[in-house]
Protein backbone atom coordinates (compact mmCIF):
# COMPACT_ATOMS: atom_id res chain seq x y z
CA UNK A 1 0.00 0.00 0.00
CA UNK A 2 1.18 3.56 -0.63
CA UNK A 3 3.29 5.41 1.92
CA UNK A 4 3.05 9.16 2.33
CA UNK A 5 5.35 11.49 4.23
CA UNK A 6 3.37 13.64 6.65
CA UNK A 7 5.30 16.16 8.76
CA UNK A 8 8.44 14.05 8.46
CA UNK A 9 6.73 10.77 9.34
CA UNK A 10 6.12 7.87 6.98
CA UNK A 11 2.46 6.92 7.09
CA UNK A 12 0.70 4.09 5.27
CA UNK A 13 -2.59 4.83 3.51
CA UNK A 14 -4.91 2.63 1.45
CA UNK A 15 -5.63 3.05 -2.26
CA UNK A 16 -8.33 5.63 -1.48
CA UNK A 17 -6.07 7.59 0.84
CA UNK A 18 -7.51 6.42 4.16
CA UNK A 19 -5.09 5.95 7.05
CA UNK A 20 -4.29 2.25 7.54
CA UNK A 21 -3.25 2.30 11.21
CA UNK A 22 -5.56 4.61 13.10
CA UNK A 23 -3.33 4.61 16.16
CA UNK A 24 -0.88 6.72 14.10
CA UNK A 25 -3.41 9.55 13.78
CA UNK A 26 -2.46 13.02 14.92
CA UNK A 27 -3.40 16.60 14.01
CA UNK A 28 -0.72 16.78 11.31
CA UNK A 29 -2.29 13.80 9.60
CA UNK A 30 -5.74 15.35 9.91
CA UNK A 31 -4.46 18.56 8.31
CA UNK A 32 -2.79 16.60 5.51
CA UNK A 33 -5.96 14.62 4.80
CA UNK A 34 -7.98 17.85 4.83
CA UNK A 35 -5.72 19.39 2.17
CA UNK A 36 -6.14 16.23 0.08
CA UNK A 37 -9.92 16.57 0.43
CA UNK A 38 -9.78 20.36 -0.22
CA UNK A 39 -11.40 21.10 3.12
CA UNK A 40 -10.34 24.17 5.15
CA UNK A 41 -10.45 22.94 8.73
CA UNK A 42 -12.37 25.24 11.11
CA UNK A 43 -13.55 24.73 14.68
CA UNK A 44 -16.80 23.33 13.27
CA UNK A 45 -14.91 20.75 11.22
CA UNK A 46 -12.82 19.71 14.22
CA UNK A 47 -15.98 19.28 16.25
CA UNK A 48 -17.23 16.67 13.76
CA UNK A 49 -13.81 15.04 13.38
CA UNK A 50 -13.41 14.70 17.14
CA UNK A 51 -16.95 13.42 17.44
CA UNK A 52 -16.18 10.70 14.89
CA UNK A 53 -13.05 9.66 16.76
CA UNK A 54 -15.04 9.35 19.99
CA UNK A 55 -17.75 7.38 18.18
CA UNK A 56 -15.16 5.01 16.76
CA UNK A 57 -13.49 4.52 20.15
CA UNK A 58 -16.84 3.60 21.65
CA UNK A 59 -18.30 1.40 18.90
CA UNK A 60 -15.31 0.33 16.74
CA UNK A 61 -17.01 1.45 13.53
CA UNK A 62 -17.35 4.63 11.52
CA UNK A 63 -21.06 5.53 11.50
CA UNK A 64 -23.21 5.71 8.38
CA UNK A 65 -24.08 9.32 7.57
CA UNK A 66 -27.67 8.94 8.74
CA UNK A 67 -26.44 7.68 12.09
CA UNK A 68 -23.78 10.38 12.28
CA UNK A 69 -26.34 13.11 11.61
CA UNK A 70 -28.65 11.82 14.30
CA UNK A 71 -25.87 11.38 16.84
CA UNK A 72 -24.43 14.85 16.14
CA UNK A 73 -27.91 16.32 16.61
CA UNK A 74 -28.19 14.62 19.94
CA UNK A 75 -24.81 15.83 21.15
CA UNK A 76 -24.31 19.23 19.49
CA UNK A 77 -27.89 20.32 18.84
CA UNK A 78 -30.37 20.19 15.93
CA UNK A 79 -28.77 23.13 14.11
CA UNK A 80 -25.74 20.87 13.55
CA UNK A 81 -27.47 17.52 13.35
CA UNK A 82 -28.74 17.88 9.80
CA UNK A 83 -27.51 17.01 6.33
CA UNK A 84 -27.30 20.61 5.13
CA UNK A 85 -24.90 21.65 7.89
CA UNK A 86 -22.71 18.57 7.55
CA UNK A 87 -22.57 18.73 3.73
CA UNK A 88 -21.58 22.40 3.94
CA UNK A 89 -18.62 21.39 6.07
CA UNK A 90 -17.79 18.29 4.00
CA UNK A 91 -19.23 18.78 0.49
CA UNK A 92 -18.17 15.37 -0.82
CA UNK A 93 -19.91 13.52 1.98
CA UNK A 94 -19.51 14.03 5.71
CA UNK A 95 -19.04 10.36 6.48
CA UNK A 96 -16.46 9.85 3.74
CA UNK A 97 -14.44 13.05 4.08
CA UNK A 98 -14.70 13.54 7.83
CA UNK A 99 -13.78 9.91 8.45
CA UNK A 100 -10.72 10.26 6.27
CA UNK A 101 -9.60 13.36 8.17
CA UNK A 102 -10.34 11.63 11.48
CA UNK A 103 -8.12 8.71 10.44
CA UNK A 104 -11.00 6.22 10.46
CA UNK A 105 -11.78 3.57 7.87
CA UNK A 106 -14.49 4.25 5.32
CA UNK A 107 -17.89 3.78 6.97
CA UNK A 108 -19.58 0.39 6.63
CA UNK A 109 -22.47 0.63 4.21
CA UNK A 110 -20.76 3.36 2.23
CA UNK A 111 -20.19 1.49 -1.01
Amino acid sequence: MPMVNIAGKEVEVDEEGYLVDLSQWNEDIAKYMAVEEKVDLTENHWEVVNFLREYYAEYQIAPAVRVLTKAIGKKLGPEKGNNKYLYELFPYGPAKQACKIAGLPKPTGCI
Binding site: P63, P107, T108, C110
Partner: protein, 131 residues
Protein backbone atom coordinates in the same frame (compact mmCIF):
# COMPACT_ATOMS: atom_id res chain seq x y z
CA UNK B 1 -22.60 5.58 -4.37
CA UNK B 2 -21.61 8.47 -2.19
CA UNK B 3 -22.45 8.25 1.45
CA UNK B 4 -25.95 9.57 0.88
CA UNK B 5 -28.58 7.46 2.50
CA UNK B 6 -31.03 5.28 0.70
CA UNK B 7 -34.08 7.48 1.06
CA UNK B 8 -37.44 5.77 1.26
CA UNK B 9 -39.30 6.85 -1.84
CA UNK B 10 -42.56 5.58 -0.41
CA UNK B 11 -42.91 2.77 -2.93
CA UNK B 12 -40.73 0.27 -1.09
CA UNK B 13 -42.39 -2.61 0.65
CA UNK B 14 -41.08 -3.21 4.15
CA UNK B 15 -40.23 -6.85 4.66
CA UNK B 16 -39.47 -8.75 7.80
CA UNK B 17 -35.79 -9.71 7.82
CA UNK B 18 -34.28 -12.03 10.37
CA UNK B 19 -30.53 -12.38 10.78
CA UNK B 20 -29.82 -15.66 12.49
CA UNK B 21 -26.43 -15.71 14.22
CA UNK B 22 -25.25 -19.15 15.32
CA UNK B 23 -21.45 -18.90 15.48
CA UNK B 24 -19.03 -17.91 18.23
CA UNK B 25 -17.28 -14.60 17.56
CA UNK B 26 -13.61 -15.23 16.65
CA UNK B 27 -13.12 -18.85 15.59
CA UNK B 28 -14.74 -18.15 12.22
CA UNK B 29 -15.46 -14.95 10.31
CA UNK B 30 -19.26 -15.48 10.27
CA UNK B 31 -20.04 -13.28 13.29
CA UNK B 32 -18.14 -10.24 12.02
CA UNK B 33 -19.38 -10.63 8.44
CA UNK B 34 -22.95 -11.03 9.68
CA UNK B 35 -22.68 -7.86 11.72
CA UNK B 36 -21.40 -5.92 8.70
CA UNK B 37 -24.30 -7.13 6.58
CA UNK B 38 -26.73 -6.05 9.30
CA UNK B 39 -25.19 -2.56 9.40
CA UNK B 40 -25.46 -2.24 5.62
CA UNK B 41 -29.02 -3.55 5.61
CA UNK B 42 -29.98 -0.88 8.15
CA UNK B 43 -29.85 1.69 5.33
CA UNK B 44 -32.81 0.01 3.61
CA UNK B 45 -35.33 0.64 6.40
CA UNK B 46 -36.63 -2.89 6.68
CA UNK B 47 -38.14 -4.60 9.71
CA UNK B 48 -35.00 -6.26 11.05
CA UNK B 49 -34.75 -8.81 13.85
CA UNK B 50 -31.44 -10.15 15.11
CA UNK B 51 -31.44 -13.59 16.67
CA UNK B 52 -28.50 -15.02 18.57
CA UNK B 53 -28.77 -18.73 19.18
CA UNK B 54 -26.46 -21.72 19.80
CA UNK B 55 -22.84 -20.45 19.98
CA UNK B 56 -24.12 -17.14 18.51
CA UNK B 57 -25.06 -15.97 22.01
CA UNK B 58 -21.32 -15.77 22.72
CA UNK B 59 -21.08 -12.85 20.29
CA UNK B 60 -22.80 -10.65 22.88
CA UNK B 61 -20.51 -11.43 25.83
CA UNK B 62 -19.47 -8.54 28.05
CA UNK B 63 -15.82 -8.13 29.01
CA UNK B 64 -14.31 -9.26 25.71
CA UNK B 65 -10.61 -8.35 25.44
CA UNK B 66 -9.09 -9.19 22.06
CA UNK B 67 -5.66 -7.61 22.59
CA UNK B 68 -4.06 -11.01 23.16
CA UNK B 69 -5.24 -12.45 19.85
CA UNK B 70 -4.71 -9.20 17.92
CA UNK B 71 -8.10 -8.96 16.27
CA UNK B 72 -10.64 -6.16 16.35
CA UNK B 73 -13.09 -6.17 19.26
CA UNK B 74 -16.35 -5.88 17.36
CA UNK B 75 -18.45 -6.74 20.42
CA UNK B 76 -18.64 -2.97 21.07
CA UNK B 77 -20.32 -2.53 17.71
CA UNK B 78 -23.46 -4.37 18.86
CA UNK B 79 -24.04 -1.37 21.13
CA UNK B 80 -24.16 0.87 18.05
CA UNK B 81 -27.11 -1.03 16.57
CA UNK B 82 -29.62 1.08 18.49
CA UNK B 83 -28.35 4.16 16.65
CA UNK B 84 -29.00 2.29 13.40
CA UNK B 85 -32.62 1.74 14.55
CA UNK B 86 -32.03 -1.98 14.97
CA UNK B 87 -33.62 -2.63 18.30
CA UNK B 88 -35.09 -6.12 18.05
CA UNK B 89 -32.45 -8.41 19.52
CA UNK B 90 -33.37 -11.88 20.66
CA UNK B 91 -31.62 -14.80 22.33
CA UNK B 92 -33.12 -18.12 23.29
CA UNK B 93 -33.24 -19.39 26.82
CA UNK B 94 -32.00 -22.88 25.94
CA UNK B 95 -28.78 -21.61 24.32
CA UNK B 96 -28.11 -19.34 27.29
CA UNK B 97 -28.72 -22.16 29.80
CA UNK B 98 -26.48 -24.61 27.92
CA UNK B 99 -23.64 -22.10 28.27
CA UNK B 100 -24.19 -20.98 31.86
CA UNK B 101 -25.09 -17.44 30.73
CA UNK B 102 -27.66 -14.92 31.95
CA UNK B 103 -28.78 -11.60 30.47
CA UNK B 104 -26.36 -9.85 32.84
CA UNK B 105 -23.47 -11.44 30.93
CA UNK B 106 -24.50 -9.70 27.68
CA UNK B 107 -23.29 -6.33 26.38
CA UNK B 108 -26.72 -5.24 25.02
CA UNK B 109 -30.34 -5.53 26.11
CA UNK B 110 -32.02 -8.56 24.56
CA UNK B 111 -35.35 -10.30 24.73
CA UNK B 112 -34.97 -13.87 25.95
CA UNK B 113 -37.32 -16.28 24.21
CA UNK B 114 -38.51 -19.84 24.64
CA UNK B 115 -38.12 -22.26 21.74
CA UNK B 116 -41.81 -21.88 20.91
CA UNK B 117 -41.61 -18.10 20.83
CA UNK B 118 -38.53 -18.32 18.62
CA UNK B 119 -40.29 -20.77 16.32
CA UNK B 120 -43.21 -18.33 15.88
CA UNK B 121 -40.90 -15.38 15.30
CA UNK B 122 -39.06 -17.30 12.59
CA UNK B 123 -42.27 -18.43 10.93
CA UNK B 124 -43.49 -14.87 10.44
CA UNK B 125 -40.35 -13.65 8.59
CA UNK B 126 -40.22 -12.86 4.88
CA UNK B 127 -36.46 -13.43 4.72
CA UNK B 128 -34.11 -15.32 7.04
CA UNK B 129 -30.38 -14.87 6.54
CA UNK B 130 -28.09 -17.21 8.41
CA UNK B 131 -24.58 -16.60 9.66
Amino acid sequence: MSDMDMEDDGSGVVKKFMFLNRKAPHGTVYALEGLEVVLITAAFDQDVSLVFTDDGVYQLMKGIDTKGIEVKDFSKTYRALEGYDIEKLYVDRASMDARGLTEDDLIVDVTVMSDDEMKNLMAEQDVVISF
